[in-house]
């Protein structure tokens, strides 16, 4: 994968608004955004109602993913183009999700909804009617997903990248500053993790920094590109953003998103925790 195959510009989007092969999908943290207007022809997935199992804490099953895409009119050969608010956090999470289930051609809009709005480009309210398909997913590709035992084993051995804010990393805050700070987890970070906030990979307008800048960002923070890397945050969405940077834009192999993230790790009994910068 690379920047050329995984990322599209808003100019590309404008040229492909009526391309029948392309399905635009908006995925937001604030799920009311789609109803306030969206890119022409876009459908939406709800990050919780559509993409979480609901009973156990896990991704939806292959069968449910197939049903979701089929009823949404996404075919196996569709070019799925994701975007969303909040600097594409949940859109990159959905991107990772499509990769987990082996979708061939999935891309992300550079800058997402924010750049689209900051450029004053039109949003529409019509919800498109798409003919249902018979989507067939692949078995889960867990090579891009990390589980808790692998994370504990990675301490001091692999790159662990904590992409939360410095305040969450140090233990000062329990959650991002736009969320209430009550939390069941203890505060801190996984020992030996490097704190490279997701935001450092993005420009103010939501677009990604250049590959040269991104490579320097991670190397200068002590990430060894020759080793495997595990990215985590609080619930796995911001780390999907950083996973996208490392695995898709920088084309590194062996990069996993730990979607259990701090809400799981910070609740585990007996695992080591570090605090401070």
């Amino acid at each position: 994968m690379s920047r050329a195959t995984s990322l599209v510009s808003i100019d590309w989007v404008q040229e492909n608004l009526n391309n029948p092969h392309v399905v635009f999908v908006e995925v937001d943290e604030d799920t009311t955004l789609y109803d306030k207007g969206h890119i022409q022809g876009a459908i939406t997935f709800h990050w919780r109602d559509d993409l979480q199992d609901g009973l156990i804490r896990d991704l939806i099953s292959k069968e449910k993913f197939e049903a979701l895409l089929s009823k949404s009119g996404i075919a196996n050969d569709s070019t799925v183009v994701l975007y969303g608010g909040n600097n594409n956090w949940f859109a990159t999470y959905a991107f990772w999700y499509f990769k987990i289930y082996g979708h061939q051609d999935v891309r992300l809009i550079d800058g997402g909804r924010k750049l689209w709005e900051l450029k004053g480009l039109p949003l529409v309210n019509e919800v498109p009617a798409r003919a249902a398909t018979r989507y067939v997913a692949k078995e889960r590709d867990n090579s891009i997903r990390a589980f808790r035992d692998e994370v504990v084993a990675a301490i001091g051995a692999k790159n662990i990248v904590d992409v939360r804010s410095p305040q969450e990393f140090s233990g000062e805050l329990a959650a991002p500053a736009h969320l209430p700070q009550e939390s069941g987890q203890i505060k801190g970070h996984i020992p030996t993790a490097k704190n490279i906030p997701w935001s450092k990979a993005a420009n103010e307008d939501g677009t990604f920094r250049s590959n040269e800048e991104l490579s320097e960002l991670y190397k200068s923070a002590g990430v060894d590109f020759a080793k495997e890397t595990i990215a985590y945050c609080r619930i796995g969405e911001r780390s999907a953003f950083s996973w996208f940077v490392l695995h898709e834009l920088l084309d590194l192999q062996n990069v996993r998103n730990y979607d259990g993230s701090w809400t799981e790790y910070g609740s585990l009994v007996g695992v080591p925790v570090a605090i401070g910068a």
């Binding site: 604030d30 955004l33 306030k36 608010g85 909040n86 600097n87 924010k114 709005e117 900051l118 450029k119 004053g120 804010s165 410095p166 305040q167 000062e172 805050l173 959650a175 991002p176 500053a177 736009h178 969320l179 209430p180 700070q181 906030p197 935001s199 450092k200 103010e204 307008d205």
Partner: protein, 107 residues
């Protein structure tokens, strides 16, 4: 819609425990003042970024239909950056528990 005489600023704080939360909030409005009361239209598609005392990004939220936003920060110095189509504003604030920072940002 905001009317003349309404209290300017961020969302209603009912239900927020201000003794434990250092709230930074406000409203983004189109520039326009009448009798000293901001009465510009709310800007519901602005993005508000919170930077820490070193200028490091901490959080970002879109404004709601009333142009409002809210952060739950830690006590200390912060910078609020408002981005909207054709506009960018920076405001330095001091957050503390017990007393919310409530801004009216006109763009």
């Amino acid at each position: 819609m905001r009317t003349c005489g309404a209290t300017p600023g961020g969302p209603d704080l009912a239900g927020v425990d201000l003794t434990t939360q250092a709230v930074i909030q406000g409203a983004v409005l189109r520039a326009g003042v009448e009798d000293g009361v901001p009465n510009g239209a709310p800007v519901g598609n602005a993005y508000v970024r919170l930077l820490d005392s070193t200028g490091e990004f901490t959080a970002e939220v879109p404004t709601n239909e009333l142009g409002q936003f809210r952060f739950f920060a830690a006590p200390g110095a912060w910078t609020v950056v408002v981005l909207a189509h054709g506009a960018r504003e920076e405001i330095k604030v001091q957050a503390q528990k017990g007393s919310p920072v409530d801004l009216v940002v006109q763009i």
